[in-house]
């Protein structure tokens, strides 16, 4: 039958060009019906454990769009059994779910799996009369199934290739973007090195010139003094540049460190304003300090580094504000954060540069005609230091010549924010009540900084000198160099816990010292008192502990220890 072969060849050829699923199903259903002369055909896709009736072409509706479990339909059966099936009378066959067929015209059928070795679909042909499908019909349908199988594999490969190509293109675009970014970063770096070189050479040149001048015979005394003063000033300038460079390099390497303790941010800011006042007066700029509430604004941080932060901000403001302008340094509190705001009426920042102000080495104007010197690293250092304090820094400007506002937010530890607490009284200078711990040195081990601060403050307030270790390891290192009079150890800590610390401490120092070690823990006292006592802790202090109880316990233990030594 040349006509049928021709139709089959056409279908197979069409399938070999199909690039998506809808084209395949369309070709298959049309060809299957035409070639078998059936009253209806379906194209069924395996979808997990279901058979999905994806498409059909029939004299009346069959099951298009419906799903059946593989085990409960004939298409599932041919896929599971990897072979075709022909059924003369479906109502005589137990594999057929009769309920699903009753609403349809179907009396007999032929079903073939697609990709016999690992079926992914099935093609069904249906007749409205009982009849035995011929071998020829079965062969045609199986041929069509093989072609469909290849076409489906092609679609899969095609999709993979497309995805792969898209991925490669994406990767290429990303690589190009990365190269461009690296080139831009190198440019910024080159510019920075040129700026550094320029800024370092300028004072050096003045010094060299004055040395030449000072060597001339018969230089008047006032000229000599002028020369020495100028040299001194330029040495200071260069030293500051070198310091800034070192800080920037530490900041970039992540090697800036803090020596944190309780520090009054308001006091720090006020000191900077006092220090910078002379420069402001000389420049004709009004520099003022404002604090909304007169109380100290205490945080946990490094006073010297915070001073550096405020100093850099004020120095920047001075640099970019011309005669007649104003600079205000304001400190305040916003919720649980201390804020330092430096506001100036200077040249402002162009909107497009605003996002780069904290970038290393960046200067808005790095051309030879730039009006302002400097290295372009001050704000980078500020940002790093603020980040080390777990704070944030933001810059705002309404635009060119509209001034700049830089705001630093620093977290206040929770322990310091409770209203009316004793710490504020302490900072306010009032005398504590209770035991006097003057002269005692105490080591506090606690991985929670808030807790450590609180204990430290209570003890320092009563005259003790306190060291804080955040871990057992740190505590071991500290006691190796200097032995305290008493150790207060938290029990639950990551790594080596309080018990582990005590064991190591006694192993190392047991022969030479019997410094008392007390447990200070939020663990339940009733559950853990026995274990701590057995482990060798002098006593168990339950957190939260009242300042008076803590102080009197410490005093008692330390007194006893001293008595036993003397």
């Amino acid at each position: 039958m040349p006509e049928a072969i021709d139709a089959l060849l056409t279908a197979v050829t069409d399938l070999s060009f199909a690039r998506d699923l809808p084209s395949i199903t369309a070709i298959v259903r049309r060809a299957a019906r035409h070639l078998t002369g059936a009253d209806g055909v379906t194209f069924v896709l395996k979808d997990g454990d279901d058979c999905y009736y994806a498409d059909e072409d029939a004299i009346a509706p069959l099951w298009k769009g419906r799903r059946f479990p593989m085990s409960a339909c004939i298409s599932g059966w041919v896929m599971l059994n990897r072979g075709s099936v022909a059924i003369d009378d479906i109502y005589q066959d137990p594999r057929i779910p009769h309920d699903a067929y009753r609403p349809t015209f179907v009396q007999s059928l032929l079903m073939v799996p697609v990709r016999v070795e690992d079926p992914i679909a099935a093609i069904g042909a249906y007749w409205a009369r009982t009849h035995a499908p011929t071998d020829e019909q079965r062969q045609v349908l199986e041929t069509l199934a093989r072609a469909a199988s290849l076409a489906l594999t092609n679609v899969q490969l095609w999709t993979d290739v497309q995805r792969h190509l898209a991925g490669e293109q994406q990767a290429r675009r990303e690589a190009e973007a990365a190269t461009a970014a690296a080139t831009a970063a190198n440019l910024v770096k080159d510019q920075f090195l040129a700026t550094v070189s320029h800024e370092l050479r300028t004072p050096l040149n003045v010094m060299q010139g004055w040395l030449w001048q000072l060597r001339q015979p018969a230089l008047p005394a006032d000229r000599q003094r002028q020369g020495l003063d100028t040299i001194e000033r330029n040495i200071a300038l260069q030293c500051r540049l070198v310091e800034d460079l070192l800080d920037a390099s530490r900041a970039l390497a992540g090697r800036l460190t803090l020596e944190s303790r309780l520090v009054d941010v308001a006091g720090v800011a006020r000191v900077v304003v006092d220090l910078a006042q002379a420069s402001a007066v000389e420049k004709g700029v009004a520099l003022t300090f404002r604090q909304d509430r007169p109380d100290p604004l205490v945080i946990w941080g490094d006073g010297d580094r915070l001073q550096q932060v405020v100093w850099n901000l004020v120095a920047n403001a001075l640099k970019f504000t011309s005669r007649g302008g104003d600079i205000e340094v304001a400190v305040g509190r916003a919720g649980s954060r201390a804020t330092i705001t430096v506001r100036d009426t200077g040249v402002g920042i162009a909107p497009e540069f605003l996002k780069h102000v904290f970038d290393q080495f960046r200067q808005e104007d790095a051309t030879p005609a730039r009006a302002y010197g400097g290295l372009g690293i001050g704000l980078t250092i500020v940002e790093q230091l603020v980040r080390l304090h777990s704070g944030t820094v933001t810059a705002e400007s309404a635009g060119k010549d509209r001034g700049t506002v830089v705001r630093v937010d620093l977290p206040i530890p929770a322990i310091l924010t409770e209203p009316g607490d004793w710490l504020r009284r302490r900072v306010g200078g009032q005398e504590p009540a209770g035991a006097d711990l003057t002269g005692l040195s105490i080591l506090v081990i606690d991985d929670e900084i808030d807790a450590a601060i609180a204990v430290r403050a209570i003890l320092e307030q009563r005259g003790a000198s306190v060291q804080v270790a955040a871990s057992a390891d740190e505590a071991m290192a500290m006691t190796a160099s200097a032995m305290p009079d008493l150790v207060l150890a938290d029990l639950a800590m990551p790594g080596t816990d309080g018990f582990g610390f005590l064991k190591r401490f006694r192993e190392r120092h047991g022969a030479t010292t019997d410094v008392p070690v007390a447990a200070l823990s939020a663990l339940s006292k009733t559950d853990h008192a026995a274990a701590t006592s057995e482990a060798g802790f002098e006593t168990f202090l339950q957190k939260p502990v009242s300042p008076d109880e803590l102080a009197s316990t410490v005093a008692r233990l330390a007194r006893r220890a001293r008595r036993s030594v003397h």
């Binding site: 050479r201 050096l204 060299q208 010139g209 001048q213 330029n234 030879p368 005609a369 302002y372």
Partner: protein, 120 residues
Amino acid sequence: MPRRVLVVDDYDDARELLGLILAHVGFEVLLAANGAQAVEMARREHPDVVVMDLFMPGMDGIEATRRIKADPAFEHLPVIAYTARTTPLDEHEQLFSGVCIKPCSPDRLIGMLNAALKAA
């Protein structure tokens, strides 16, 4: 008759010092603190030679030199670039009779000034 030198530098310490040194070795010294002042002063005072800083706010040294030399009367006025900048001047180099990189010994600068004056 003493030669007149115009010293241009925005850094007070540097400008003042160079003025003293050049006066010390016998120049008559004129001082300008920025590019615009330099152009104005050159036109008015007709110096014999100029020592020009390059990095300056507003009009930089290259632009100031270009403006001075745009006037045919100053086409051959020797200008020494005096700068802490170490990057090449490229096409701008021909504007200058010499380039003196800071830090620069006064003797070397004086030598360059004298050579430039002799050539002019």
